[in-house]
């Protein structure tokens, strides 16, 4: 697996997309840090961008990359290798290169800024961590869709739909549901529903640090209890990990049964 990973990884980090992606974050983060005097404001702005862009880019580059390496996979499959080795190697290489872009792009400016000795270090680390998690999740979903659908147009369409669903539509439906059943106690529902969307989950994990005051002001006891304790952090982390695991499980299942 390491061989496949290394090979694809070095192929990927030389691709202009990965380089562009890293440069984009680098410029954006530097600009935000230079223009805004307030570190927590920078982190909130970055959060908005990371939650928007990371899933989108991971989805699109993931599916693009899989489709474009589709032919080469046939050559790899004829080599004395396990199937899972090939696919996990490839998956990890995508995650690795996108993750590295993100890490360098928003890491270098913050390091130069002196984040290590700042009080905001934890907020920043949570932001970075959730960004990486989302890279895992959405590259995984992209891979899963690409494996399942040989038809590229269909695959791309599904992936865009999937991203749109988690980024926007889900929250819209969520809000609609909340206002619809306004008369019922909805705290548990609200908390539960947010576990089913990795983007929402990541957002809440970051907000647990940044907007704790507002969230604690919520009138429901369930909320304060959940958000106020380490339990909320723990459950959110655990469900994020499940979200990482789910596409991997699907990739494995499909790659073992698929004909090439």
């Amino acid at each position: 697996m390491l061989k496949i990973f290394r090979f694809y990884f070095f192929d990927l980090i030389r691709s202009r997309w990965t380089v562009l992606y890293a440069l984009f974050y680098l410029l954006l983060t530097s600009a935000l840090l230079l223009l805004s005097p307030n570190l927590s404001k920078v982190i909130i702005s970055l959060m908005n961008i990371v939650l928007f862009l990371v899933p989108l880019i991971a989805s699109m580059l993931g599916i693009m990359y899989f489709y474009s390496s589709r032919d080469f996979i046939e050559l790899l499959l004829a080599q004395p290798l396990r199937r899972s080795t090939i696919f996990f190697g490839q998956y990890l290489s995508i995650v690795g290169s996108l993750g590295l872009s993100l890490l360098l792009g928003i890491g270098i400016p913050f390091l130069l800024y002196g984040i290590l000795s700042s009080a905001e270090i934890w907020n920043y680390l949570v932001l970075l961590g959730t960004g990486l998690m989302l890279t895992f999740i959405f590259s995984g979903i992209a891979f899963w869709i690409a494996l399942k659908h040989e038809n590229r147009i269909k695959g791309f369409g599904l992936m865009i739909l999937c991203w749109l669903f988690f980024a926007v539509i889900y929250d819209g439906l969520f809000l609609l549901g909340l206002s619809w059943f306004n008369d019922y106690p909805l705290e548990k529902f609200a908390l539960g529903a947010s576990l089913f969307n990795p983007i929402d989950l990541s957002r809440i994990l970051i907000l647990l640090k940044l907007d704790i005051a507002a969230l604690m002001g919520f009138t429901g006891a369930v909320f304060s209890k959940f958000l106020g304790s380490g339990l909320g952090m723990l459950i959110s982390m655990a469900s994020l990990l499940l979200w990482v695991g789910f596409p991997i499980w699907r990739i494995r299942a499909i790659s073992l049964k698929k004909d090439f």
Partner: protein, 419 residues
């Protein structure tokens, strides 16, 4: 004010005059007086009673003469959970250097560590009160100074706990440099006028750090209110000026940095509101000026409920709050926002005059959604909500027209605020 100053001067002059003829009565196991009671019986006005270090279990001690009770080496007066400890009814009493402990809760009477009743010109300073139900209790008193005391409670729930410094029907008090922890209210004022509160730290109190009821013309400044149920509550009062205070980390459900209810004619300036669930909650208040305050990382910087008239917010910094403003449609329309700095402002300043060229609307659509459906708060800062807010910003449908800052600053003010 002049009358007050005169009184203070007279008071100051009279004390040294008395002490020239004063006797020193010492209390300790090997002294001429073994108990405080016996010393008090034999003292006359103006005498000094020196209480040496040791444990004194004498139940309730009535101070009916104008004496000084001075502790040396922190003598402990223990109520053993049974009684009130010092009850002062004479004028010109000075209490200093005592440790007073274990008054014990009572649901029938408001027992206190030190009570001042119907008196004037008393000073309670540099004492330590531990577990005293009500710490220092002043009723029908005037011209007293409470300073440098440490009042440590062990309050667990509101109903069964007292206030650290409780003042009822008083005039011209000075409450300064006290530390009040873990009571129901840190400092409580009911029908207290013309008084000053400054330099105090009020922390971990269950209800309010400082609480005004029906009190007028008071002034509090340079205090710190941290991690209380709510920082300060000012209710049914007028002319309570406040400046250079810090209201921080008052969070939890329905928690405020500052709660204003039925307050009028007040100036609020140079205060810092940090990390409170709600920075200031205003209900039924009029003619209040808020300026040069800092609102930083609160849930809601300012929440205005119904019946507010003539509230003016100018030249404040709003930085990193989840919501800058929340008001009800029924809130008065005569409130203004001008020349503030809002970190959420995303406008531009083409003419470089330091002011944004488009107005800032502090009231977001999502705010109204949260008011109706509080659970929606979990969607805070999501893309969907940003889109909603953005569309509302482009063409306001729900936001009231008049709630806007026409001159939002591009950079925060440098404020004179205590850290």
């Amino acid at each position: 004010m002049t009358k007050k100053k005169l009184l203070l001067i007279l008071c100051g002059l009279s004390l040294p005059l008395q002490s020239m003829f004063a006797a020193r009565l010492e209390v300790c196991p090997s002294c001429s007086y073994q108990t405080i009671h016996s010393a008090l019986e034999n003292a006359s006005d103006g005498d000094q009673i020196i209480i040496k270090s040791g444990l004194y279990r004498e139940g309730n001690i009535q101070v009916t003469k104008s004496v000084h009770l001075l502790g040396e080496g922190w003598p402990v007066l223990d109520g053993e959970g049974q009684t009130e400890i010092l009850t002062i009814t004479a004028r010109h009493v000075l209490i200093e250097g005592l440790e007073i402990r274990n008054v014990g809760n009572s649901y029938i009477e408001d027992r206190a560590g030190i009570r001042l009743r119907n008196t004037r010109f008393c000073t309670i300073r540099n004492n330590r009160l531990v577990n005293t139900f009500f710490g220092i209790y002043l009723e029908h008193s005037a011209d007293c100074v409470i300073s440098g005391n440490e009042v440590l409670g062990e309050a667990l729930e509101e109903n069964s706990s007292g206030n650290a410094i409780h003042c009822w029907y008083c005039q011209r008090l000075t409450i300064r440099d006290n530390q009040v922890y873990r009571h129901r209210d840190g400092i409580y004022f009911e029908f207290v006028d013309n008084s000053q509160i400054f330099g105090n730290t009020s922390k971990d109190n269950l209800r309010y750090g400082l609480h005004f009821m029906f009190s007028n013309d008071d002034y509090y400044y340079e205090n710190r209110f941290i991690q209380n149920g709510a920082g300060v509550a000012v209710m049914f009062s007028k002319c309570i000026d406040m400046d250079h205070n810090i209201f921080a980390s008052n969070w939890g459900r329905a928690s405020y940095g500052l709660l204003l209810k039925e307050l009028t004619d007040t100036d609020i300036r140079n205060n810092s509101f940090r990390e409170n669930t709600i920075g200031i909650y205003v209900e039924g208040c009029s003619r209040i000026d808020y300026h040069h305050n800092e609102f930083k990382q609160n849930g809601w910087a300012l929440k205005m409920s119904g019946g507010c008239l003539d509230n003016h917010l100018q030249e404040n910094n709003f930085i990193g709050n989840s919501f800058d403003l929340s008001t009800l449609a029924s809130a008065g329309t005569e409130n203004t926002f001008d020349n503030n700095y809002w970190s959420e402002y995303s406008g531009y300043d083409l003419d470089h005059n330091g002011e944004g060229d488009i107005p800032y609307l502090p009231m977001k659509l999502f705010n109204q959604i949260v008011q109706q459906t509080p659970e929606a708060l979990i969607l805070l800062r999501s893309l969907f909500i940003d889109l909603l807010n953005f569309s509302e910003k482009v063409s306001p449908v729900f936001t009231p027209e008049n709630i806007r800052d026409l001159h939002p600053k591009m950079n925060p003010y440098t404020l004179n605020i205590r850290s």
